[in-house]
Amino acid sequence: MSALYLTLLLPLAGAVLLGLMGYRSVAGWVNVAVCAATFAASLVTALEVLRVGPLLSPGRMFYIDAFNVYLVVLTALVGFTTAIFSRPYMAHEVHRGRVNARRMRLYHSMYQGFLFTMLLALSTNNLGILWVAMEGATLATVLLVSLYRTPESVEAAWKYFILCGVGLAQALFGTVLLYFAGSRVIHNRDDALLWTVLHQAAPSLEPAVVGLAFVFLLVGYGTKVGLVPLHSWLPEAHSEGPTPMSAILSGLLLNVALYAVVRMKMLVDPALGTALAGHLMMGFGMLSFLVAAFSLHRQRDIKRMYSYSSIEHMGLMTFGFGVGGPLATFGALLHMTVHSLTKSAIFVTVGHAAHVAGTQRIEQIRGLLRTQPAVGWGLLLGTAAIAGFPPFGVFTSEFLLLSATMKSWPWLTLPLLLGLGVAFAGLFRHLHPMVYGDRPAGQDPVPANMLPVALQLGLVLWLGLAIPGLLAHWFDQATRLIAGSSLLG
């Protein structure tokens, strides 16, 4: 348990420390160090869960099981690698004069604050605190989205703030309704928001209220997942904010929001006894997936394009969790992992590519393979991975999701395949000129650390070739928690 407390305390302390010390050249290193320590602590937590099973903290404030512990590790890992990337990247931004020292202090402090709120959201046992942490994550990132203070970035921050704020307000209403349902059957009122208590009492919760609550919760947290039609904040916040933010927004925040939705589904299913929650998730997921796949084609900004790809994949995962059953759930869990590793790696390379070209406009980024081969290859391989090329892990999880759909909803495989094809075409038609071709004048290599990218894409490749037994077992346990039965038996 103490390792978990450490996982939470380290980023919190990091946020305070980096806020106090201000921006100096070591601040980037401190950021990396704190993230590294957090990652180590999260690994220890995971090993503990693996050894003794689900953990409940003494005051029942925190609860860790196979489902959330792997997301904790993933969050800490991507937070760590992105911090490595962020140090030279943001130093370059300071050098270019886009940010000053005061804003760098804000940036570093909020980077840690953001990691803290996400880890808190993942590990808390209290559904109210889950909401508070999700709102906290929004608040921590608003000023980061407007970090460059251009009119565009201020506009993006405003829309992000308003849309996510209103969305999350719906989730809070859903939480209040759940609490209302819970406090009718649970004697100690302070327990009626605890996930462990509610989950036990789920079959006796009032179905009508819980169903209503789920609609609000899905809309609320769905806004943060980026589900269509509440997605419009996402491409804007991604394209206007600093690139390390895009990497952790896409790689982590969306996952955490989806985690919240799935947790709620686990409560709602036994209470309702029908597939209402699953069907709603399938509908929203499929819609987001298709809309995003088609929108990919019209993008002219490289970060916007990849953020639409994030919406597409979050839609696919939501759809997968909605389908339910062990196979689809296993696939969706795996997809959460490989998507967040791949997508954060892609945003890292996109950041470097934009520095090389000096712009984010796709038509002006050309011939990366000649200018800076490491960046070019990173973008090429990353995009191949995210488009679902074998042997990368995304292929495996998409294949699992497709076969699960084939089994329970055969006619839905058609739109899925169509969407995957359309998204593939959209990505590659933009990618091709960006990486191949001649080197335009005035594009020079930039200081880049491609190690995180190589590491993450390597992991994704490994997961595609062979899922290690330990990890498969881990996912399987999580699948049993969510779907009620396990895949591997």
Binding site: V132, G136, T150, V154, I162, F180, A192, A208, L212
Partner: protein, 226 residues
Amino acid sequence: MTDLQGLDISQQLILLLAALVLFTSFAMLAQSRLINLVRVFAWQGVLLAATTALVAHVSGYSHLYISALLTFGLKALLIPWVLHRLVLRLGMEREVESEGNRTLVQLGGASLVIFSYYVALPVVRLSTLLTRNTIAVSLAVVLLGMLLMIARKEAVTQVVGFMSIENGLFFAAVVSTYGMPMVVELGIAFDVLVAAILFGVVFLQIRASIDTLDVDRLNRLSESEP
């Protein structure tokens, strides 16, 4: 159905307060001057704090007194005061918002209230006591807050709408379930406070970048770029 004679005086008072909270939401929709809007918002905060105190008295949950104080401090004094100062500082006290058909907006608000009663039906069926009407009222306050944000174009108005959504949620928590656990309420209060500060900061950024707070002018980002 509700038997009004069967309710004791404090429960009748809570119903009265619920009606007044709903009324302030409509009053906000009707206001065109920013300064008056902020005042009405402050009154909503006062009513909310009074309701919380009353519920604390009726239910005997003493932690609700703390929430009542927090609500009063935050939503009736601090946030309205900050907004008030911002409006004065940005020289917008005389500004009148010109926007579409005010009558239509009011009518839309009325339909939202009916819709809320319809949505809350399953909850009403189970309710003991007061919950029946108040959960519908709080949902209506939430939806009216959203309507205010949609119908207006001034950033300050949108913030007031946002905060009034929070008021509706808080009202739901207090009246239907006698408040959330303390730790959650403290967390929510903290979030609201941070959000209020952030709003102030983003206001200044918007003002600095487009020289007005009319968010309709925030239109540089669009799907179909040239």
